[in-house]
């Protein structure tokens, strides 16, 4: 059954998700809670829209002269002893981190939450090099124990019911636990703390770099980010090449907006601004701080006017929470590292030839709720339309489906064809509604609608169109 006419892999995964009651409920409950939080925080803040304008401008300004801004940041960071590396793709990024781990003789890498690490599949690379990777963010650790992928960019385990988490922990620790958050979090904390102290390497992401000071900033609610970046002797931060602002003042807008957009919190519990390794005499901080700046398909978007603004994303997840599609099926249905509207846009852009990612442009009703929620006002709905155009241009979308849409669109341009086609279609629909042999045949001839009509009562299709009624309406005057 071809719904999208592309690979239908999304449709299959969405169907799978829709069949899981607990998953659907868990996802909707969480997205509702998060977007309500965001709505309350934005109403309370008063100047929320002005902040959005300011952050949008700051991010676009930095993206607009990315090379200059990056160089300025790097010069200042290096002056403070930060070791900066550049990786063009996932492979290079992993090689760099593995290289550092080897040089340090590390056997254990403690990790803070990083979507970029998921994207480049760093854990697999580390394990392949005999370095154990330990996720220390509670959600990420659960995902790691379960051998899954995060289903949300800020709450990796939205899809997982508590009972399943307890079972995972029980299997891990071999002792019975209860479903209480306190007990589960306590178990994780005890286990993870012990490990922290063994880790020779700490690996984190980077929420934003600040060119003015040569710093990188980490936002976290659990405090594990702080431990990962200070306790091990070597800290490696993975940074998307586009994650930078020019000034501390620009960064201040992010501090206000990121937590409010993501969860509705006024502030993130821990905001760490790191400007270099520990200096001589300082007790805190790593001996070495490496920042691996990863491109992996990002700078290619600089030249694409249709999609360039997507580089302004601050990965807050608000567009996921606002999205009716994401809220209905959760993140795994997308089959990509980044789900939701932002995922449907950037995943195809990171790999332009990947047909399976390309179909995600269809995973949207184009309601625009993502754009409305986005702190940096990325027009995701317009980008999804442009991606659909790219698909159509490349003949993606199934030759039949595309040809049918094309014929319909062209018929629309010729009034008498439009009129005649309308009459025939309405008759057919009326026949179908009337049931009987002929009706079934008429329905069967429109397989695209068959699935839909299994879930919707047919509308009362009128005999005459408005244009057929117009002359009578004129006489009413």
């Amino acid at each position: 059954m071809s719904g999208l006419g592309l690979h239908d892999a999304f449709l299959d995964r969405a169907r799978h998700a829709l069949g899981q009651e607990h998953l659907k409920q868990a996802v909707r409950r969480t997205t509702d809670r998060l977007r309500d939080g965001r709505a309350a925080a934005s109403a309370e803040a008063g100047a929320f829209e002005a902040w959005r304008d300011a952050l949008s401008e700051a991010r676009r300004r930095a993206i607009g002269r990315l090379d200059v801004v990056l160089q300025a940041w790097q010069a200042r960071a290096e002056a403070r002893g930060v070791l900066v590396h550049h990786a063009v793709d996932a492979r290079e990024a992993c090689d760099i981190v593995v290289g550092i781990a080897r040089a340090k003789g590390a056997r254990l890498a403690a990790k803070g939450k990083s979507m970029l690490s998921e994207e480049i599949e760093l854990n697999q690379a580390l394990e392949a090099a005999c370095v154990e990777a330990l996720e220390t963010d509670l959600g990420e650790w659960i995902i790691q124990l379960a051998g899954e992928r995060p289903s949300h960019i800020i709450l990796p385990v939205v899809h997982k019911p508590r009972g399943e988490i307890r079972e995972l922990f029980e299997r891990h620790g071999g002792e019975p636990l209860s479903d209480e958050t306190r007990v589960l979090a306590g178990y994780a904390r005890d286990r993870l703390r012990a490990e922290f102290l063994r880790a020779e390497l700490g690996v984190t992401g980077c929420n934003m770099a600040i060119a003015e000071t040569g710093s990188i900033a980490l936002f976290s609610n659990e405090g594990n980010g702080r431990m990962v970046s200070t306790l091990p002797r070597t800290h490696v931060a993975l940074m998307g090449v586009e994650r930078i602002v020019e000034t501390l003042a620009d960064f201040a807008h992010l501090v206000r907006l990121l937590p409010r957009s993501a969860t509705g919190q006024r502030v993130t519990t821990y905001v760490n601004v790191l400007s270099g390794p520990a200096r001589p005499g300082e007790l805190d901080g790593p001996e070495e701080l490496h920042v691996v700046v990863v491109d992996a398909g990002r700078t290619a978007q600089l030249a694409e006017r249709d999609y360039r603004d997507a580089l302004a994303c601050v990965r807050c997840g608000a567009c996921l929470n606002a999205c009716p599609v994401y809220s209905a099926v959760g993140g795994h249905a997308y089959g990509t590292v980044y789900p939701g509207p932002i995922g449907a846009v950037i995943e195809p852009l990171y790999a332009r030839d990947d047909e399976r990612r390309a179909e995600l442009a269809e995973a949207s009703s184009l309601c625009g709720a993502c754009h409305e929620a986005c702190p940096v006002r990325i027009p995701l709905h317009d980008m999804l339309v442009r991606l659909r155009q790219d698909n159509a241009r490349r003949g993606r979308g199934g030759p039949t489906a595309l040809a049918l849409q094309r014929i319909a669109a062209r018929a629309m341009a010729v009034p008498f064809v439009y009129d005649a086609a309308g009459r025939i279609a309405r008759r057919a629909a009326r026949l179908a509604a009337g049931g009987g042999q002929l009706g079934r045949w008429a329905l069967g001839s429109a397989p695209v609608l068959r699935e839909l009509l299994r879930r919707r009562a047919l509308p009362d299709v009128p005999i005459r169109s408005f244009r057929e009624l117009w002359d009578e309406l004129e006489e009413e005057r």
Binding site: S365, Y418, A457, P462, S465, W470
Partner: protein, 255 residues
């Protein structure tokens, strides 16, 4: 009341952009729009050459076809002093979509903008152009208002429909939880991903059921057909009406 209103609309002349969906599937909505506007003294023209604004093609990724339809629509409607559309979505297409379509063609962009400047969604036209809120309509019952995504987010339609509904005699307006949520129609989306569309409209239907409304009102026929079909399928006796149909009603009960 009526005299005053007629003075408001007198000497005004609009072209009705009826939209392909209303034309083919809900002509009674077009009829209601014409009657309501005429009652206010507005003269309504119906340019017969019109077909579709191009939105379906545009959202389907067919840029060339969409552009051809948009050019047609501009040519057909630009001679008129104002254009009224019984759809926030299609009005949104003229306002926002045409900007996208013609962004690299200054001449066409100027024409598109000139058209957008005089193109109004129906309730926008009544409230903001005619300056009317109370049209003397009456209806018994309780309605819930579903703001369509495109009306709100693409066109920027505000509280005009709500103000019009509040002025309808005998009509109560129920609180609809998460009213701003998409109904799952999305044009071809509902046919391409029917199960998903069903899950989304399911949430809308349960919020409607909880609202206690007997009628759901919107500015977009796409949403209404979708919601109506889902309600019927679930055996929920909720009627779906375009706002013009409510305003057309003079007596109690269904118009």
């Amino acid at each position: 009341m009526t005299e005053r209103s007629e003075a408001v609309g007198a000497r005004r002349r609009v072209a009705l952009m009826v939209t392909c969906l209303v034309d083919q599937l809900a002509p009674e909505v077009g009829v209601a729009v014409v009657r309501v506007l005429r009652r206010q003294g507005v003269q309504v023209d119906f340019p017969r050459a019109q077909t579709c604004c191009g939105q379906a093609a545009w959202n389907g990724g067919l840029a060339d076809e969409a552009r051809a339809l948009a050019e047609r629509a501009i040519e057909i409607f630009e001679p008129y002093e104002a254009v009224v559309v019984p759809s926030g979505s299609c009005a949104g297409m003229v306002h926002h979509g045409y900007e996208e379509i013609f962004r690299d063609d200054a001449a066409w962009l100027a024409r598109a903008r000139a058209l957008a400047a005089k193109t109004h969604e129906f309730s926008q036209y009544v409230v903001s152009v005619l300056g009317l809120v109370d049209l003397g309509a009456a209806r018994d019952g309780t309605c819930a208002y579903h703001p369509s995504c495109h009306a709100t987010r693409l066109l920027g339609l505000g509280d005009e429909p709500r103000r019009l509904l509040e002025a309808v005699r005998g009509l109560r307006i129920a609180t609809l939880a998460r009213a701003e949520d998409c109904c799952g129609f999305g044009g071809a989306f509902c046919a391409k991903l029917p199960e998903l569309s069903d899950a989304i409209v399911g949430a809308k239907v349960s919020h409607l059921a909880q609202s206690g409304a007997d009628t759901v009102v919107s500015s977009d026929v796409g949403c209404l057909l979708n919601i109506q079909g889902a309600c019927k399928h679930r055996g929920l006796p909720i009627e779906a009406l375009h706002i013009a149909q409510v305003l057309e009603g003079r007596k109690g009960g269904a118009a």
